[in-house]
C-alpha cells in the first residue's frame, strides 16, 4: 500500500540511461518485493476493480453468465443506507480503537516503561512482555480470548460479576461497538508501544540534563523535548495503525460478526458479507474498491502531514 503513495509523492524526473544502469543492482534487489506486490496486491486489486463493474455472483444465473453492468454497483452503493451505516461504524471503530485506544495507550505504555527502564525497575521487562503477548497472538486467537471474556453464559466478565452478586451483562449485545473497540485496543497497543519505545531510546539524555539544570519540571521536559522528538515517528505509527484498523476483519468477525444487526459491521466485513454470504461478488468488489480508495486517501494525507512536521 505504502509504495503506491510514496511513488506518487516522489519527484517525477526523467532518469538518464547510465543512471539506470548504475541503479540496476538496486532494481534487481527490489524485484522480489515488486513481484510479490504485483502478484498479491496490484493484480487482485485490478481484478476487483474489474469485477466491480460486473454482476458476477457465486450462485444463480449471474454465476453462469456474468454481465458488464458499468457503474451500477457504485450507484447502488451510494444509495445503500446500510453502507452509510457501515462507514459510520468504521469511523467510530478507527477513531475509538486506533487513534484514541492504541495510539494513546501505546504512547502511555512506552513512556511508562521507558521511564521505569531508565530507573532500572525490573518489573518493566515483565510489563513489556505482557503487552507484547497480546500482540504476538494470531488475531483469531485474540478474538476468541475476548469471546471467552465477553460471553454471556460462560464468559469471565459475567462469572466475575456473578461472584460479586450482580450481572449478568450482555456485553456484546448491549455494548457491541465498545466491546470490539476494547478488544482491538488491547490487541494493537503493543505495536505503537514498540515504535515509541524505539523512538524514545534515540532521544539523547543530555537534553533532559540540560532542561533539568534550567529548572524545567517533568511536564515541561515532556512537552518541549520528548513530544517533538516523537512527532515524525508518531505520524507514521498513526498512519500504519489507522490503515490496518480500517481493514479490521478477523477480530470483529470472531466477536460479533458485525452484529447485533449491523451495529459493528465495518467496511471489510460488509465487503465480505456481500461477496461471500450474499454471493454477490460484483457488489462486494465495489465495496472493496471504495475501501482501497479511502485507504489511499489516508496514506497520502498522513504522509504529507508527517513530512511537513518532520
Amino acid at each position: 500500500m505504502i509504495p503506491g503513495g510514496g511513488g506518487a509523492a516522489a519527484p517525477a524526473r526523467p532518469v538518464p540511461r547510465d543512471a539506470l544502469r548504475r541503479q540496476a543492482p538496486y532494481l534487481f534487489g527490489l524485484a522480489p518485493a515488486a513481484i510479490l506486490l504485483a502478484a498479491f496486491f496490484v493484480g487482485p486489486a485490478l481484478w476487483a476493480a474489474y469485477a466491480s463493474l460486473t454482476n458476477t455472483a457465486l450462485v444463480g444465473i449471474d454465476a453462469a453468465r456474468p454481465r458488464f453492468v458499468g457503474l451500477a454497483n457504485y450507484e447502488r452503493l451510494l444509495g445503500d443506507p446500510d453502507f452509510a451505516n457501515v462507514i459510520r461504524n468504521s469511523v467510530v471503530f478507527v477513531v475509538g480503537s486506533a487513534v484514541i485506544g492504541q495510539f494513546v495507550l501505546g504512547l502511555s505504555l512506552a513512556l511508562l516503561i521507558d521511564h521505569a527502564e531508565r530507573r532500572g525497575y525490573r518489573l518493566a521487562t515483565l510489563a513489556y512482555a505482557a503487552v507484547l503477548l497480546a500482540w504476538v497472538n494470531p488475531t483469531v486467537i485474540a478474538g476468541f480470548l475476548w469471546v471467552a471474556m465477553f460471553d454471556f453464559y460462560n464468559g469471565s466478565l459475567n462469572t466475575g460479576l456473578a461472584l460479586a452478586g450482580t450481572g449478568p451483562v450482555d456485553w456484546l449485545g448491549q455494548f457491541p461497538m465498545l466491546s470490539v473497540v476494547i478488544a482491538n485496543t488491547w490487541r494493537g497497543a503493543a505495536f505503537t508501544m514498540l515504535i515509541f519505545l524505539g523512538a524514545l531510546k534515540t532521544i539523547p539524555s543530555d537534553i533532559y540534563e540540560a532542561a533539568r539544570v534550567d529548572g524545567a519540571n517533568a511536564w515541561r521536559r515532556f512537552w518541549d523535548h520528548t513530544l517533538p522528538s516523537l512527532r515524525p515517528i508518531g505520524a507514521l505509527a498513526l498512519l500504519s495503525i489507522t490503515m490496518s484498523t480500517f481493514g479490521t476483519f478477523i477480530l470483529i468477525q470472531t466477536l460479533t460478526n458485525g452484529g447485533p444487526g449491523t451495529q459493528t459491521e465495518v467496511i471489510a466485513l460488509y465487503a465480505f458479507h456481500e461477496a461471500f454470504r450474499s454471493y454477490a461478488i460484483g457488489y462486494g468488489s465495489a465495496i472493496a474498491v471504495v475501501m482501497l480508495l479511502i485507504n489511499f486517501a489516508f496514506a497520502i494525507v498522513y504522509l504529507r502531514w508527517s513530512r511537513a512536521r518532520a
Partner: protein, 451 residues
C-alpha cells in the same frame, strides 16, 4: 483472502466462453450416463461433504465400500469436512467457480435452484430412468422437492421437519401445567414465555432466531412459519411478496418478543447461536420454548433417553387465529453430481450406493429424520420408534418453501429485516418497507409485489 479468491473467479470469467460451451455440451447430453453398461465404470470419485455431528462418516464409508466391491476399477476419495454446513457451502462454491470440483457433493436440497442456474450441478433424469427404486419407493412429494424446471437434480434421503419443542418441567413450574400440549395460537407462545420469565428464574423463556447470525434458521425456524401463521406467504404466482399486512405482523411479533426480553439478544451476536439453544432446551432445561429441526431430538436422546422423554415435549406450529397447526418441511440435505465432474457415471453410482433401503433407514434412525424412501420406513426398528413415526406423520401437515433460485438471497433479506426489529433499530412498519426495497435489490424489481 477476498482478492485471491476473486482472482480465481476471474480466471473462470476470462475463460467464460470455453466453460459455457463445455457446460452446454454436458447439459445437452444428460442421458450420457443412462447408456452406460455395468462393469465399464472406473476411475476415482471424490465425495465432498460436511458433518459436524459425526453421524454420517460410517454410512458414507459403507456406500464407498459397496461401490468398490461392485466395481473393481473404482476408487472413492472421501473428503469429510468437520465444519458447519454454511461454511462448507461457501467453500464449495468457491471451489466450483474455480473449476476445482469434487464429483459428488452433499448440500441442502433448498440450494437446487441457485446451483442449477449457475451450472454447477448435473440433472439426474437420464440416470433415474435406469434406477427402478426412484419410481417405486420415492413418493411424489419427495420427487417434487428436488425437481427444478422439470428436472431432478439431487437425491434426498432424510427429510426435514420441525417441531416447537418445550420443556414440560419448566412449564409446570411456570404454572402453565405439565399437561400443556402446545400453543393455541401464535400469541399464546409469548404468553407462555412471559409466564416462564416471571415465575422461573435462570431459564430463558423462548429462542426466536433473528439476524444473519441465525443463518438459515432465521428463515426456516422462525420467520417463514410465522409468516404462514399470520396468513402470509413468501411468493404469489412466482413473484416474491414484499411489504404485506402479514409481514408487518411477523415483524411486530419479533419486536414484542425482543422488547420484552423473552428471547435472548445473544442470538444476534453469537456465532451459531443454535448450538447453545439446542443444548439448553434438550439437555439442560435452561430454555423453555424453541422451534427447531426435529432431528435435534436424536442428539438429546443419545445423551439421556429417559430425561428427554420425560421433559421434552414437541408440538406443531400454531396459526395466529387458532387454525390447524402445521410445520415447515424440506428436502433435507441431499446428494448431487457436479456438472463439471469428469466421472459422472461413477459419481451417480456412489449416490445410488448411499441411497439404499438399509443405509437410509439406519442413518435416519440414528439422526432422526423422516425417510425419503418409503421402504426404509418399513424397517421394524423405524416403525417401533414413536418419535420417528410422529416426525414422519408431521410431514402430512408440512408446507414447503418455494424451490426458487433466489431463495438464498431472500434469506439474506429476511435476516436483515428481523435483526433491525430485534435490535430495536427500526419499527416493524419501517422494517417492512425496507424489506420491500431490499427484496427488489436482491431479486429484481420486476419479481417483487406488495400486498
Amino acid at each position: 483472502m477476498t482478492r485471491t479468491i476473486d482472482r480465481r473467479t476471474f480466471l473462470k470469467a476470462a475463460a467464460a466462453t470455453g466453460i459455457v460451451v463445455a457446460c452446454g455440451g454436458d447439459q445437452g447430453a444428460p442421458a450420457g450416463g443412462g447408456g452406460t453398461a455395468k462393469g465399464t465404470i472406473s476411475g476415482t470419485v471424490t465425495v465432498s461433504y460436511a458433518d459436524e455431528a459425526g453421524l454420517k462418516p460410517k454410512y458414507v464409508q459403507l456406500a464407498a465400500d459397496g461401490l468398490r466391491a461392485k466395481y473393481s476399477g473404482v476408487d472413492v476419495k472421501i473428503d469429510h469436512q468437520k465444519i458447519g454446513s454454511g461454511d462448507f457451502y461457501t467453500k464449495l462454491l468457491l471451489a466450483l467457480n474455480a473449476g476445482d470440483v469434487p464429483d459428488v457433493i452433499h448440500v441442502g436440497g433448498d440450494k437446487i435452484g441457485e446451483l442449477a442456474d449457475a451450472g454447477h450441478i448435473e440433472p439426474l433424469d437420464g440416470y433415474l430412468k435406469q434406477w427402478e427404486d426412484w419410481s417405486k419407493v420415492y413418493p411424489d412429494a419427495v420427487k417434487s422437492g428436488v425437481t427444478y424446471q422439470g428436472k431432478v437434480w439431487a437425491i434426498p434421503y432424510g427429510l426435514d421437519t420441525r417441531f416447537l419443542f418445550y420443556r414440560k418441567d419448566v412449564l409446570d413450574k411456570a404454572g402453565v401445567g405439565a399437561t400443556w400440549t402446545g400453543p393455541k395460537n401464535v400469541d399464546d407462545i409469548l404468553e407462555v414465555a412471559k409466564a416462564v420469565k416471571s415465575k422461573v428464574a435462570g431459564v430463558i423463556p423462548y429462542a426466536l432466531y433473528a439476524g444473519p447470525a441465525g443463518d438459515s434458521g432465521t428463515a426456516n425456524h422462525a420467520f417463514i412459519p410465522l409468516l404462514w401463521a399470520y396468513g402470509g406467504d413468501l411468493q404469489k404466482d412466482g413473484k416474491w411478496i414484499g411489504d404485506s399486512p402479514a409481514l408487518r405482523k411477523v415483524l411486530d411479533y419479533y419486536g414484542r418478543t425482543y422488547r420484552q426480553d423473552l428471547s435472548p439478544k445473544e442470538i444476534l451476536t453469537t456465532a451459531k447461536p443454535w448450538t447453545a439453544m439446542r443444548e439448553k432446551l434438550g439437555l439442560k432445561g435452561e430454555l423453555a420454548l424453541l422451534f427447531e429441526g426435529a432431528w435435534n431430538y436424536g442428539g438429546w436422546v443419545t445423551k439421556d433417553k429417559a430425561a428427554t422423554e420425560r421433559n421434552v415435549g414437541y408440538a406443531l406450529f400454531p396459526t395466529a387465529t387458532g387454525g390447524p397447526s402445521f410445520t415447515i418441511g424440506g428436502p433435507g440435505t441431499a446428494w448431487y453430481v457436479t456438472a463439471k465432474s469428469k466421472n459422472k457415471d461413477a459419481a451417480w453410482e456412489f449416490v445410488k450406493a448411499f441411497n439404499t433401503k438399509e443405509i437410509v433407514a439406519k442413518l435416519n434412525i440414528e439422526d432422526p429424520h423422516p425417510v425419503a424412501r418409503t421402504d426404509s420406513a418399513e424397517v421394524a426398528e423405524f416403525k417401533a420408534d414413536k418419535y420417528l413415526v410422529d416426525s414422519t406423520e408431521s410431514l402430512k401437515k408440512a408446507r414447503f418453501a418455494p424451490p426458487d433460485a433466489n431463495f438464498g438471497k431472500v434469506i439474506g433479506v429476511i435476516q436483515k429485516a428481523t435483526a433491525r426489529v430485534a435490535t430495536g433499530e427500526m419499527s416493524a412498519d419501517d422494517a417492512a418497507k425496507r424489506y420491500t426495497d431490499e427484496l427488489r435489490q436482491a431479486v429484481g424489481a420486476d419479481k417483487v409485489i406488495t400486498q
